[in-house]
């Protein structure tokens, strides 16, 4: 029996993924060492790229795998940000502890929200999530202790808690954001590699068939919704820790935290881990390239997203997969085939 | 007699699933022809392909000598092919009369008008202001036939007229169909109820698994051959 079990082998990594893992490790080492050789501007840009990748991975998990097309993820970005400012400013909590609590808090809020929005399907679900985030924005603008319409700022003592030196502080904030983004991407990757990833991918491809094979589709979607809210809250806290200020418009901005994120995912390739990276790079590239011309980069991004959706709906990486069967993040499983005996083949 | 409909190596696909394989059919003007076969044999697909609801090669379907395989469904109706779809498919939010009037969107002139359809199906005149779903199955089938006639077709495609109807209602429907074809309208009848289809037609084509298995006149054919073609036995 043991021999038989041994005889069935399954491979996870591919040649491309091994090469990529080495390159990614090198790139990561470079990014971690950035504070020692880059300037504050570099760190700000990379940190921004890092949190956008995380948001894109999360939205992709939600919409690309679990089929939950939410346009209200800004609710959890804002919640995370507000929680950080509230806990540090009003409760005098340690800034690291506050950042860690902000995520689970967003996840907690997502539970009652899910009871409401999970009653809705398709477009209704999308609009419902958006309205919920508008409700949060309006509540934030009404609550005095959250600074009402004008919002909250991080005070100097809180910042000095991180470090009294500005350069050190920038480096710590940068590394925190990088770490959080790595954490989120890692979680998404490990999740998709696990048996739960198998279930999610199955749900993405056919929901009724997954249920008929024993996958608890509702339970899986519910957990994914709560988990993405938690991670989105954490990223939200770190975004506004960088920005030092939060207001209802900035915290709960659909354009900043959901629309451009959706564009990134769709352009890069929905339903892939590689896609969000590609989409983010295109977004950042357009913005930096057209930085002197106002918001034309957003118009261009919108146009690209429309063209991709109509002409190549699986996105850039989806096109690459179809052509070259390339996997940089090996979530798949390959059965190592052995020649069959003649008798078994019939 | 002139050839009205000719298919040459007609194939049809749902995605990458091939539903029809090289079907060759010739139908003369004025004929009534039955298409029979078991479930999944491709009968409905055949009608839908001729009506333009499924794409095929332009030369695969010739209507009055003109290649129509590549045309859209709404263009094909305008050329004179009307469909009575399986399950009637009346528009539920329209009244009976509005459903009939929808047939005029093909903008074809000819003998059929509201008045004539009501003469053929007097019951529909009484029910004309009711919403379509409130009709019985047989009345809905009459409305669906009337709607197709309103486009003054040269070729009438009828998909499973008897589906879900009581035998007495089916008899009535087929009587009316006889009246329609007697005026020279060519008809293709897809049916699972073989006896009914064979009674109403002069020739039949039997489909099996997407292929043409047998064709014969309805008088004096080999029943054993039909059974074999039908079940693929």
């Amino acid at each position: 029996m043991d021999a038989a079990v041994e005889s069935v082998r399954v491979e996870r990594a591919t040649k491309a993924s091994r090469v990529f893992a080495v390159l990614a490790a090198l790139a990561l080492a470079a990014l971690i060492s950035l504070p020692w050789w880059g300037d504050a501007g570099d760190m700000r840009l990379i940190a921004e790229m890092a949190y956008y990748v995380a948001l894109a991975q999360l939205w992709n998990l939600l919409a690309g795998y679990a089929g939950l097309v939410s346009v209200g993820q800004q609710a959890y970005v804002g919640l995370g940000g507000y929680m950080l400012f509230y806990l540090t400013g009003v409760w005098n909590m340690n800034v690291y502890a506050a950042a860690l609590i902000a995520g689970p808090f967003a996840g907690l809020v997502a539970i009652p929200v899910s009871f409401a929005v999970f009653r809705l399907r398709g477009a209704y679900f999308a609009i419902g999530t958006w309205v919920v985030s508008e409700v949060f924005a309006l509540l934030a603008s009404l609550i005095a202790v959250l600074g009402a319409g004008s919002g909250l700022s991080l005070t100097v003592p809180i910042l000095q808690e991180i470090s009294t030196h500005r350069d050190t502080r920038d480096a710590i904030l940068y590394l925190m954001t990088l770490g959080a983004s790595l954490f989120v991407t890692g979680i998404v990757y490990l999740l998709l590699r696990s048996r739960h990833g198998l279930a999610l991918t199955a749900i993405r491809d056919s929901e009724p068939a997954s249920a008929s094979l024993g996958v608890n589709t509702f339970g899986t979607k519910f957990i994914i919704y709560i988990a993405t809210a938690t991670c989105t809250g954490l990223i939200g806290a770190l975004i506004f820790l960088q920005k030092l200020r939060i207001s209802p418009e900035a915290g709960f901005s659909i354009n900043d935290w959901t629309v451009v994120v959706i564009f990134m995912v769709v352009i890069g390739g929905i339903g892939t881990i590689e896609g969000p990276f590609i989409g983010m790079l295109i977004f950042i590239f357009l913005r930096e390239w057209l930085a002197d011309y106002g918001t034309y980069y957003l118009i261009l991004l919108g146009l690209i997203a429309i063209v991709i959706m109509l002409k190549a709906p699986s996105g850039i990486w989806g096109w690459v997969i179809q052509r070259y069967d390339l996997q940089l993040f090996p979530v798949g499983r390959r059965l190592v085939l052995r020649p069959l005996e003649k008798a078994a083949k019939r | 007699m002139t050839l009205l409909l000719r298919t040459r190596d007609l194939s049809a696909f749902y995605g990458d699933f091939q539903a029809l394989f090289a079907i060759n059919v010739d139908i003369e003007e004025g004929e009534t022809v039955a298409v029979i076969g078991a479930n999944g044999a491709g009968k409905t697909t055949f009608l839908r392909t001729i009506a333009g609801a499924l794409p095929t090669a332009p030369q695969a379907v010739l209507f009055a000598g003109q290649p129509i395989g590549g045309k859209t469904a709404h263009d094909i109706v305008r050329l004179g092919i009307a469909m009575v779809p399986e399950g009637r498919r009346l528009f539920p939010s329209l009244t009976v009369e509005e459903n009939l009037l929808l047939g005029t969107h093909s903008e074809r002139k000819g003998p059929w008008s509201l008045k004539r359809v009501y003469e053929l199906f007097p019951r529909l005149r009484e029910l004309r202001h009711l919403p379509a779903p409130s009709l019985s199955g047989g009345q809905q089938q009459m409305a669906a036939i009337g709607r197709a006639l309103m486009s003054n077709p040269r070729l009438l495609l009828c998909d499973e007229l008897s589906l879900g109807l009581a035998p007495v209602v089916i008899r009535d429907i087929y009587q009316c169909l006889g009246a329609i074809t007697a005026e020279g309208t060519t008809a293709v009848l897809v049916e699972q109820d073989i006896n009914r289809a064979l009674d109403a037609s002069a020739r039949f084509y039997c489909f099996q698994e997407g292929r043409l298995a047998l064709t014969a006149p309805t008088k004096n054919f080999d029943r054993a051959a039909l059974t074999a073609a039908y079940f693929g036995l």
Binding site: D205, S212, G214 | T227
Partner: protein, 241 residues
Amino acid sequence: MTVLLKLENVCKFYGALKAVDDINVEVESGEALAVIGPNGAGKTTLFNLISGDVAATKGRIAFEGADVTAKAPHARCRLGIGRSYQIPHPFANMSVFENLLVGAIFGGGVTERESYLRCSDVLKLTGLYDKANVPARTLTLLQRKRLEMARALALRPKLLLLDEIAGGLTEHECAELVRTIKDIHAQGTTIVWIEHIVHALLSVASRLIVMNFGQLLAQGVPREVMANARVREVYMGIPVS
């Protein structure tokens, strides 16, 4: 013989349409049951009721003596009900092997490592071993039909529901598939099979039921049922030779 599946007065109504109307059926353990009936007779709805894809309007469904009427599809699957769909629903972007893993892990309730061997065996049984690592979207229709069946087999079902698994196949392909289904049945799996290709059905099934207008028209030994005059009339409209 023990009763594996029992339907008592099961109904499914869509408004005025009685898709399944007061059906009583028992399936015995180890049996192979064939279901036939004209288009729209309610055969697929019957499967959907058994697998839990649609909820019964009335009636009771018991599996191994336990009431499963209110259970979700995934829960029924975990009890041992596997099914295929008439129109294949492959997980198009996953490999064939991964398609099977979903059934083995979530429906079969084993760990991922334990399921590898099982999936490998099912792939061999269903003739998909060579295709294990290709994306399911690249399969031909026959292979997709086989995948439907293989995926359901990977969960080691006690009851396997096959919905027109042979539809749209060539004669040769159909014969091959019938052989596989015979093998599966021989290994002890109970099978309920909807099909229009009667000769294929009859080469496997020991009992036949005929549905019409959502109701049970006849049931019994296949040759006798097929000889039944009402069945001939309803199903074909003419006498079967």
